[in-house]
């Protein structure tokens, strides 16, 4: 029982991270129809932003700095690379996001080296016992902040004017333009939100585990699976998807083989894409199959 609980608790924390990266994928995809392959690297850039800020800021503010850094990187990426290529096909845009991912990773490696980094948790203290499983306080922060961020985003998209404008652009760029919504500005907002969400939550998890410059690819792949489970459309289903990915990985590594857990997750991704591209949603994903 306690081992099951432990798996669930770890999966909740890890899943909050994957879900947040996945939400970043979804926001950008809904807006522009492209998958940002640099999403994982942007999150890691945010994490390193927090590492740097933690040298002279308390951890909570460092996390905020991490979110801002990731948002800035994301927006910068949009204006420097995606926007100039808006006339090109999705293939070119996707390749450029892969290249940007490489650039981000190598810059981080040059500045911070390949060694793992860490900073102090937001609140000090030992793990808490929940129904027989242990969970570090930092992980509670992680879960809590990701839920708050998710709720804020949901509120933003459903209730605020800018959020609705963003959704309008996503549904029909031309019609949105006709009623005076600037696509460029809205896309910048989308990239900023995607970066902030992924980078902020990645920063929260740095104190519990380490962060290194090369983490972007695997983080991005896991976030992508979460986004796929969310049908690349629904934020809530994406967060749930993140939890499911983490649950599979944690359970497999606990009960079968720790070394092969990541492999299994990626095999699951390929199967998921081929067999159920609409994820947890019921939307028919005609463009994927």
């Amino acid at each position: 029982m306690s081992s099951v609980m432990q798996v669930v608790l770890s999966a909740l924390a890890l899943g909050a991270l994957y879900g947040s990266v996945g939400v970043g994928f979804v926001i950008v995809y809904r807006m522009s129809g492209m998958v940002n392959f640099a999403q994982g690297n942007i999150a890691v850039a945010g994490g390193f932003g927090a590492v740097a800020a933690s040298k002279f800021l308390p951890p909570l503010l460092a996390v905020l700095a991490g979110a801002l850094v990731a948002a800035a990187v994301s927006v910068l990426m949009y204006f420097l690379t995606i926007r100039p290529l808006r006339g090109q096909g999705l293939l070119t845009q996707t390749i450029v996001t892969l290249a940007v991912g490489t650039v981000i990773q190598s810059v981080l490696q040059l500045v911070f080296g390949t060694a793992p980094h860490q900073f102090d948790p937001i609140t000090a203290g030992h793990s808490i016992n929940v129904l027989g499983g242990h969970i570090p306080i930092e992980s509670i922060w992680l879960i809590g902040l990701s839920v708050v961020a998710y709720l804020a985003l949901a509120y933003f998209f459903d209730r605020t004017m800018i959020g609705k404008a963003l959704t309008a652009c996503a549904v029909n760029r031309y019609a949105a333009g006709v009623v005076g919504i600037s696509f460029g500005a809205m896309a910048a907002v989308a990239f900023a939100l995607a970066g902030a969400m992924a980078g902020g939550i990645e920063s929260v998890q740095v104190p519990t585990s380490f962060i290194s410059a090369g983490d972007g690819l695997v983080l991005g792949l896991n976030g992508f699976i979460a986004a796929t489970l969310g049908g690349f459309n629904k934020l809530g289903a994406t967060m749930t998807g993140g939890f499911l990915v983490a649950l599979v990985a944690q359970a497999f590594s606990r009960y079968v083989s720790a070394g092969q857990a990541t492999t299994v997750v990626f095999i699951a991704l390929v199967l998921l894409l081929v067999l159920r591209p609409e994820g947890l949603t019921r939307k028919v994903a005609a463009d994927r199959v």
Binding site: M34, V35, F37, L80, T81, P84, L85, Q88, L90, L91, T92, T94, I95, V96, L98, A99, V100, T102, V103, Q105, S106, V107, Q109, L110, G113, A213, L217, V218, L221, F224, T228, G259, Q260, T262, T263, F266, I267, L269, V270, L273, V274, P277, D287, R288, V289
Partner: protein, 631 residues
């Protein structure tokens, strides 16, 4: 053209053998000029070029965004390593076995994998690459993270490729052979089919191309090429470890192919050389900037930045510059001919039809296409609701109806591009309801699309030649290694494509980029592409859109003429003057269901049709009646 081919052929063959000679001489000269260090660098450049070539085939030719290249590279390397060290197999045999296994695996996973498109295919193949890496990295029998060694230099017919110089020559000769094959493939029927898939999948399928099969084949060929590069790597470096075949290697190969240009196999060679030169330069410069530890990351950074810059500034890559210049020259010499206008004077279409009707009556043959009770629902919307129609050989049937009546959906159902929710479609008695578009095409049905669906980056002649796909038999391999028969077939297809173009008055446009032409010209190119397949059934979805009056008149006469030749023509059109002049029968559809079938005169007189669609004519009739009353 038909009189020159032998000379042209000899010319092309002459150019080809000259090119091969130059390549061999250059390779030997470079090998003699390089010291061991540069020969080694040159060899690894050649391996990169091979991997780039395999990527050009899948992404550049077929337009399928696959990032699995490093996994097959690794499969070749580990395959050769294991087979030679564990079983003592000859290197060459091990290389072949590894390539066959890689190809077989690729073919097996291709079908489900290539149901995915775009980003999702990219992500799935990226995951496959990562799965390969993790599996090898976690497997102690494969040496895990420390890798494997113990392989000998490659020995072929008693000669051992032991020196870096001999390896340099071998690698670059292999690159040359692959490059030559890829260039031939691009020109032949197999490569044309791939490029058509990249350009417009539905149109490619409608031309009879078996799209899933073509994708699987090119993925298999690419896997074999990658595996070959891997085997050569193993024999030359004599040591294999997982990171060499990791996901970032795939991304690096993608980058070099993009830098060079994906549209031509030369791009892979150019990209590989550029990348290697960059790395050599940065290796000298970077330690001063970032310290020794920063070299790897610094290289990645610079290569990444250059890639981003090239993508933003020149999205088609460096090798494309030549093509750009050539296309500018082409435009200058042929644009005068291209604007040839059909004589705008002459009879109107109704008069033309009356003249045509005065000719000996044409034969209306048996039913070739029959649909009964066709229904198509999209979610809650019923686009086609219980439509039944019959099309006879030698007749022109026009399907008309208001916008949104379900006409285009009907054509898509008949051509196999969509599967009906219920109902039955038969071609010459055989049930084709569930067949896919390329299978329906095989039964003699050709079609055009409402919005011109031509292929990006293909000339008018090539575009039309795609339509002749089913008349040929040369596959991907014979396209790359043309036999005499393949050359002869290619010549015949080219001639037929030219004839079809001539029939539609487009022969001057043969060399131009089809997508750069006017809407009317594009529509007519589509008709030529459908015609070249020698169809028994021709479906035309709004062929008049974008045509001027003279062009419409020509098209009308053309359709009457091919109907006289026995082709069954079904068309959808909004231009009523055209419809009434061209059709033998008219079928009116409204809200997805048939309202009336009859001759043009009958349909024009039907009050229900007038209410639903031809409202204007009804008004005219009223005013005429009023005039009579007045008189």
């Amino acid at each position: 053209m038909s009189k020159v081919p032998p000379a042209l052929l000899r010319n092309r063959a002459g150019q080809g053998s000259l090119g091969i000679l130059v390549w061999v001489v250059l390779v030997v000269v470079f090998a003699l000029g390089f010291d061991d260090y540069y020969a080694g660098v040159g060899s690894s450049t050649a391996l990169l070029a091979m991997l780039g070539l395999s990527m050009v085939l899948v992404i550049g030719y077929a337009g399928q965004f696959s990032l699995a290249v490093a996994a097959f590279y690794g499969a070749g390397a580990y395959g050769s390593m294991l087979l030679t060290t564990k079983t003592g197999l000859w290197g060459l045999l091990a290389l072949v076995i590894a390539a066959v296994v890689s190809g077989a695996v690729a073919f097996a996973i291709a079908r489900p994998l290539f149901r995915l498109r775009g980003h999702f295919l990219a992500m799935a193949t990226l995951a496959i690459g990562e799965i390969f890496y993790l599996t090898v990295n976690n497997s102690t029998s494969l040496g895990a993270s420390s890798g494997l060694g113990g392989i000998q230099s490659l020995k072929v017919l008693g000669y051992t490729f032991a020196t870096t110089r001999s390896q340099f020559v071998l690698d670059w000769l292999v690159v040359g052979a692959l490059l030559w094959g890829a260039l031939q493939m691009r020109r032949g029927r197999g490569g044309r089919a791939l490029r058509a898939i990249r350009g417009h999948e539905a149109a490619a399928q409608a031309a009879g191309i078996n799209v899933p099969m073509a994708k699987s084949q090119v993925f298999t060929v690419a896997a074999v090429v990658s595996s070959l590069a891997g085997s050569l790597y193993a024999h030359q470096v004599m040591y294999v470890d997982p990171p060499t075949f990791g996901v970032d290697v795939s991304i690096q190969i993608l980058m070099l192919a993009v830098v060079g240009g994906m549209q031509t196999p030369w791009g892979a060679v150019v990209g590989a050389v550029v990348l290697e030169v960059l790395q050599l330069t940065t290796q000298k410069v970077l330690p001063g900037l970032f310290g020794d530890a920063g070299v790897g990351a610094g290289q990645q950074l610079i290569v990444g930045l250059i890639l981003v810059a090239i993508l933003v500034l020149r999205p088609n890559g460096l090798a494309d510059v030549g093509r750009l210049i050539r296309s500018l020259l082409d435009r200058r010499t042929t644009s005068a001919a291209a604007v040839r206008e059909i004589d705008a004077d002459g009879d109107d279409m109704t008069t033309l039809r009356r003249k045509e009707d005065a000719l000996p009556p044409k034969q209306i043959g048996e039913t070739v296409l029959a649909a009964s009770g066709l229904v198509k629902r999209f979610g809650g919307v019923t686009a086609v609701d219980d439509v039944t129609l019959e099309l006879h050989a030698g007749e022109v049937l026009a399907v008309i109806g208001p916008n949104g009546a379900g006409k285009s959906t009907l054509v898509n159902l008949l051509s196999g591009n969509l599967v009906p929710t219920s109902g039955r479609i038969g071609i010459s008695g055989a049930d084709v309801t569930r067949l896919q578009a390329h299978q329906v095409a095989r039964r003699g049905l050709a079609r055009t699309f409402q919005t011109p669906s031509l292929f990006e980056g293909m000339s008018t002649l090539e575009t039309v030649a795609v339509g002749a796909h089913l008349t040929g038999r040369v596959g991907l391999l014979r396209s790359s290694l043309p036999t005499l028969g393949a050359v002869r077939e290619e010549r015949r297809i080219e001639q037929e494509a030219r004839d079809a173009l001539a029939r539609l008055g487009l022969e001057e446009l043969a060399g131009l980029d089809a997508k750069s032409l006017s809407l009317g010209q594009q529509k007519r190119i589509e008709v030529a592409r459908a015609l070249v397949a020698n169809p028994t059934i021709l479906l035309l979805d709004e062929p008049c859109a974008g045509l001027n009056k003279a062009e419409k008149r020509e098209l009308m006469l053309f359709l009457r003429a091919i109907a006289r030749e026995g082709v069954a023509v079904l068309l959808i059109e909004h231009d009523m003057e055209f419809v009434m002049a061209v059709a033998d029968r008219v079928q009116v559809i409204n809200f997805g269901a048939t309202l009336r079938v009859g001759t043009p005169a009958e349909v024009q007189a039907d009050p229900a049709v007038i209410d639903a669609y031809l409202g204007v004519a009804h008004d005219d009739a009223n005013t005429e009646d009023e005039k009579k009353v007045d008189a």
